[in-house]
């Protein structure tokens, strides 16, 4: 019997990098096959080649034993290959059923398609209402839409790219059940991830990539995480050093009874939010995205101001009415969730990007940019935070996600802030860089700074935070001490109370948990 999909000696070069170097792998029918690797290891390129969104420079692809010559996403789909992207390929301004209709080959008849969607989504245990607008859906629900879209075409091979990075633990469990059910029906699944525990729990086989090369194939259920991690990272794994916190007496950041209406109906109202962060400690804010994090972050960073000035205090100074730059004068530094566009200007060079926030640190004199100082400043960050870049003159968009994130975190930390606000510090960043960024954040806090980390990754929060807050539907829970709480408790806070009104309204009463 032929493998469902076989890759032989795939090579793909981009200017300056070899993304895939002689990669071969075989996926059997009904097999859940992990492609493990750090970001930048070449996983995404390989998937694009399988899916036909990119062409290999050399090498062969066989599907059920037949060679696949030059192909594109349309021919791949005709072969029964479907892909769920990490950044969902959904249109926000139209409904679920319209989104799916766009990639369905069937006649354009929305009512019958909606019926099919409802049936199929229930059969695989992930009910969705086909008539809801996508911008109203949570990330987990959007993923369901993506998966259902693929399932409608009864795929023979389903590719999932980092599917759990934005899901709650409960939603991950559900997703895995669905995937196992699919595999049992004979569908092959390619599961791209850098999360070892998930791969060990779910996958039958794993192909590990590093720097574009296959460094090993393993049966993850019979291999220890350490061995897998070695194949992935190569050198010794970075270890985290988190010493006990020494919180300052007075809080650096105080938020009291902050309530605010969302700016638009995509947002969530904040309801009576109160918490504080002391110097020397890291406080984590957990929650599924779209529960008010964006609003809270905008209010804390100063992108949005609030009428009651003492709702937010920074080092005792009422700051809720201050603009972002005035808050930065009080010692605030901020790493936003979106690296490109909000954390850095994509088309500008790294040194130009340092001037954006480091203009008070000597890179601007008498209103003129001191290029040499700015360049030196950027070079210092590149050096100190081990950013892989072509020097201070390379553009922000030329860096990989992890490296740009290191650069942005480095830029903010170089300002020696009293209060650091970080959103999704390691979203889409590989293991090595993640560990480095987390360690940097820990070091900053142990040197006395107050740090607030907003993240959807519980592992990350549990690794570095001293106290945890959970945000859900615009409400923030009382703080939990990390050492005395566990994932279950946090996970429940993230979901348990969120039997949301629109889910009630949509009539899918059999969904117990929103995810």
């Amino acid at each position: 019997m032929h493998p469902r999909l076989e890759l032989r000696n795939i090579c793909k070069r981009y200017p300056g990098v070899v993304a895939n170097d002689d990669v071969s792998l075989a996926i059997q029918p009904g097999e859940i096959h992990a492609v493990l690797g750090e970001n930048g290891a070449g996983k995404s390129t390989l998937m694009k080649i399988i899916y036909g969104a990119a062409q290999a420079d050399s090498g062969e692809i066989f599907c059920d034993g037949n060679p696949v010559a030059a192909h594109n996403p349309a021919t791949s789909r005709a072969l029964g290959i479907e892909m769920v992207y990490q950044h969902f390929a959904l249109f926000e301004s139209v409904s679920v059923v319209e989104n799916i209709a766009l990639s369905a080959s069937s006649a354009f008849h929305l009512p019958s398609l909606a019926e099919k969607i409802r049936e199929l989504s229930l059969r695989y245990g992930m009910p969705i209402d086909p008539h809801r607008q996508v911008h109203d859906l949570s990330v987990g629900e959007r993923q369901r839409v993506e998966i259902v879209r693929c399932l409608l075409r009864t795929p023979k091979l389903l590719i999932l790219d980092e599917p759990t990075s934005v899901l709650t633990p409960q939603a991950v469990v559900k997703l895995f059940e669905t995937l196992r059910q699919l595999a049992a029906e004979g569908c092959s699944i390619v599961y791209i991830s850098h999360k070892l525990d998930e791969v060990q729990e779910l996958c039958d086989t794993a192909t590990v990539l590093r720097n574009g090369k296959v460094t090993g194939t393993a049966r993850p259920k019979e291999t220890t995480s350490l061995e897998l991690a070695r194949m992935m990272v190569g050198s010794k794994l970075p270890e985290m050093h988190v010493s006990p916190p020494v919180p300052s007496e007075k809080p650096v950041l105080e938020v009291t009874n902050l309530s605010v209406k969302a700016r638009d109906h995509f947002g969530v109202d904040l309801k009576d939010v109160s918490f504080d962060v002391r110097g020397g400690e890291i406080v984590g804010l957990a929650g599924v995205s779209g529960n008010g994090q964006a609003e809270l972050i905008a209010l804390l960073s100063g992108e949005r101001t609030h009428g009651r000035s003492d709702a937010i205090r920074i080092s005792g100074t009422p700051a809720a009415g201050l603009r972002a730059d005035e808050r930065r004068k009080l010692g605030l530094a901020f790493v936003p969730e979106e690296r490109l566009g909000r954390g850095a200007v994509p088309s500008h060079t790294l040194w130009e990007n340092t001037v954006l926030t480091a203009h008070r640190s000597g890179t601007v004199r008498n209103g003129l940019v001191d290029r040499r100082k700015a360049s030196a400043f950027a070079a210092g960050i590149i050096d100190r935070f081990k950013v892989k870049a072509n020097g201070p003159a390379s553009t922000a968009q030329s860096l990989s996600g992890g490296n740009l994130q290191k650069f942005i975190v480095g830029r903010e930390i170089a300002l020696q802030p009293k209060l650091l606000l970080v959103s999704q510090p390691t979203w889409g960043v590989d293991v090595g860089a993640s560990a480095f960024i987390r360690q940097t954040i820990v070091d900053l806090s142990r040197a006395g700074a107050a740090v607030l980390v907003v993240s959807e990754e519980l592992d990350e929060l549990f690794e570095i935070c001293d106290r945890l807050l959970v945000i859900c539907q615009g409400r923030v829970s009382p703080p939990l001490v990390r050492k005395t709480t566990d994932r279950e408790e946090v996970g429940l806070l993230m979901t348990g109370r969120t039997m949301s009104k629109d889910q009630m309204a949509s009539g899918s009463g059999d969904v117990a948990l929103q995810d």
Partner: protein, 306 residues
């Protein structure tokens, strides 16, 4: 009563070129392309249609010539903006200026004699009805065509798969490309359609509305059409209402001038423009609605990734 009929029918007629031009631009912008050159395309359409009539072609042929001229002009923009990925604002402005220049050049030989205008339709029975006949059933065919286009475009955008594809390309060409739609080709078709509609609008001006040729006879209507699309928050019905509002103000100020109001006529002439913009600004203040209907990729060049 005659005055009411005159104002009503005058409004509908004055709104017709705007309906054509703005609906065409709506389709273009919904695909994520911003063509600022409506004024230029309208002038090309007006000049060609006028020429065709004076050259002895039939009225339908002349109007078709206007539409083709508009489409040809828009193709110029399409090549620049879609194939060579130039800045869409610059390409559109260039087209506006180019169209006005070329049409003026073509029109040098046209003379200043008016031509016989497009006739009203004579519906059996209906046109003869008292009140309703003159109010609704004696317009020229282009007025009915404009309304038919409104229905057709609304239906196309919100009820057909092709319309859905067009709208989603306007939201995210990258995603559309990823699921296999020919973004550039569809955008070309939208641009050509918008050009043809602007050409129709221009043709209407020179063969029906004021059946003579005057340089720059569009007098800014292309820009008003452009503003209509934005202030109507990219929705067909609001475009229709906005165009009627503009038409109504145009007629009212003409009546006002005829009555000899003690207001400078220049100010009165500016009234329709002012009123349309004020009203549309007021109704487009709801930013949520704006966000929902705004084509997110508007004016952003798109190059398919390889």
């Amino acid at each position: 009563m005659d005055l009411f009929i005159a104002i009503f029918t005058g409004t509908i007629i004055a709104a017709t070129p705007l309906i054509f031009a703005a609906l065409g631009e709506l389709v273009v912008e919904k695909s994520g392309v911003l063509n600022l050159g409506i004024e230029g395309m309208m002038l090309m359409g007006a000049a060609l249609a006028f020429w065709a009539v004076t050259a002895g072609y039939s009225m339908p042929a002349a109007i078709l010539a206007g539409a083709l001229a508009g489409a040809a002009a828009s193709l110029l923009f399409g090549v620049l903006a879609l194939t060579f990925l130039t800045n869409q604002y610059a390409a559109g402005l260039a087209l506006a200026i180019f169209g006005s220049g070329v049409s003026a050049f073509l029109g040098r030989g046209f003379g200043s004699e008016p031509i016989e205008a497009l006739h009203g339709v004579d519906f059996p029975v209906l046109s003869g009805l008292p009140l309703i006949g003159p109010l609704l059933f004696r317009f020229d065919p282009m007025v009915y065509l404009a309304l038919a286009m409104f229905v057709a475009i609304s239906w196309f955008l919100y009820r057909t798969k092709a319309g859905l594809v067009l709208r989603t390309i306007g939201e995210s060409p990258q995603t559309s490309h990823a699921i296999g739609y020919p973004v550039i080709r569809i955008r070309y078709m939208a641009v050509l359609f918008g050009g043809a509609m602007a050409g129709l609008a221009g043709a209407y001006l020179s063969v029906a509305y004021t059946p003579l040729w005057v340089e720059n006879m569009t007098a800014g209507k292309g820009w008003i059409a452009l503003a209509l699309v934005v202030f109507a928050t990219w929705r067909p019905l609001r475009i229709l209402l906005g165009a009627w509002l503009f038409g109504g103000m145009t007629i009212l100020q003409l009546q006002g001038q005829a009555l000899g109001l003690e207001v400078p006529s220049e100010l009165l002439s500016a009234l329709p423009y002012l009123a349309t913009i004020i009203v549309l600004v007021l109704i487009s203040r709801n930013r949520q609605m704006l966000a929902l209907h705004f084509p997110a990729s508007l004016a952003k060049p798109f190059r398919p990734a390889s």
